[in-house]
Symmetry: C2
Amino acid sequence: MDPKPQDHQSPSSTPSQLRQVLVLRPPPVFTVHEQDFSSKFHILKAYDSPLPTHDFLQTHAQSVKAVLCSGIGPITADVIRDLPALELVVTASTGVNHIDMAECRRRGIAVTNTGDVFSDDVADAAVGLLIDVMRRITSGDRFVRGGRWATSGEYTLGSKLACKRVGIVGLGNIGSRVATRLKAMGCLVSYTSRQEKHTTPFTFYPNILQLAFNSDALVICCALTNETRHIINNKVMMALGKKGIIVNIARGAIINEVELVKCLVEGEIGGAGLDVFENEPNVPKELFELDNVVLLPHRTAFTQESFYNAAQILIGNLEAFFTNKPLLTLVPNEF
Amino acid sequence: MDPKPQDHQSPSSTPSQLRQVLVLRPPPVFTVHEQDFSSKFHILKAYDSPLPTHDFLQTHAQSVKAVLCSGIGPITADVIRDLPALELVVTASTGVNHIDMAECRRRGIAVTNTGDVFSDDVADAAVGLLIDVMRRITSGDRFVRGGRWATSGEYTLGSKLACKRVGIVGLGNIGSRVATRLKAMGCLVSYTSRQEKHTTPFTFYPNILQLAFNSDALVICCALTNETRHIINNKVMMALGKKGIIVNIARGAIINEVELVKCLVEGEIGGAGLDVFENEPNVPKELFELDNVVLLPHRTAFTQESFYNAAQILIGNLEAFFTNKPLLTLVPNEF
């Protein structure tokens, strides 16, 4: 380790004392690889303290320069105000919608994410959800485990994937991986995005309504922003139609969940594969009764391999920060 | 229709009377599209008759030239003996292991299957099962529907697909489609087959044991023959290893099911996605307790689109037979 004093640690203290990292609520990646973090940094665990969060933050307010977070523990303007020395927010996620980016910008606080370390896994799970809903895999498993195969002549036919028109909402790191996979299955892929991507072979539609109208299934892969909140509403679902499938592996609030549940219950769309919800971990109970939906507990990034890789990126960003080196995965935060 | 007398129908009877098609047990494709069959052929429904099958066959023995079947109603040597006029067996399946091919060969009875009409759908479902087991989709759905997300901190990590070594057992119509799909997901595909296919980019292993030893997952895509019966045994599963996944969308008896259940229960392999079983519709009850298996009721070919296409092929073969035209999808049946 570099012995000369650094901006972020004074020479009078031991490095581990001053390499403080605040954790409000432990991200799963942190929990699984806690040993790796604890051996390199002094972890301040707000969630283990008997103090209320605000009081805990007050106690450490002057010293905390870095915080580690994820979607389960938002970094609000209030939290940021409680931490006047804060310089870095490291999130164990690709999305940053749980961080008050405007407040970070105003205060000059850097934000890093996990880059595209989860992209392949999320894309695989998106494709898995689409196959599952169209081919009734989870439904079939319930049928067998319920002992109905031997006693019931029932068989509901699924839908073929080949030649189906699948619309990708947001053709970024994840969306483009979903597109590649679906192309190999013979699907006809199109997309909508903030702007047309001229380097892809896929058909572009300038807005979500046109995409839905020309699709048999939609796969939501975009970030949650003010522009995308509730972008999938009743009108879009009506355009998608009664056989249409929606897969959401992005963020729950991109879909108007009340309208989604209504459309599913009333058969206005054909089915859904949902990894994310508006008010996690709460899932609308009406969905539990439906055989044409597959429900995941926000787990499409949860593999041993991506967790290991994500931990290395989180640690790498914290190491870089405490040794004044360039951050690995800085999130652009400008107007 | 050609007015001149044909080999398979005499001019003194109406065509529909003599275009008799025997059905012992109705294949699902037939049930779904029965109207199309009934409008073109005179269907003799053994399953609707109060007579025992043998007596029913005796009644129609002299006139039945064509039989329609599938895996749920085997065409045994006994059945064939009961039908001295039989010239054609049309099966609503790709596999023909439910037909006594030796007896058909001896009698000069032609056998047609459904060609590769189901191949894309079966390949999609195979990939869906692999993703499902590795990424714990059905398991996750149970977790959410069981109301455990809000109350349990539990999360078992899945396995990443990218860079996993997947071994295809049988690189035919279905196996090669599975390989293409998995390649798009970043899997490292290899295979074993009766002989090496020099036109594919995938690594060949000359036997199942070498393939298993060099694979993280096996996808069974071969036909059931005397050579492949129980080819997946305890030794192969030990070579695959404790994290290894098996997907079977071919025929149940390709796996030694007793040994598979034992390996799964004892944790000697990592999980399984099974569409087929040795004694369908009976599924070993021990599997119902396992969270790392996905169980389907032999449904990987069950889509509206492939059922429609299969019906057209079945009808096309029967039409060709009754008008003395070449059969569409004759199964080679020589030593």
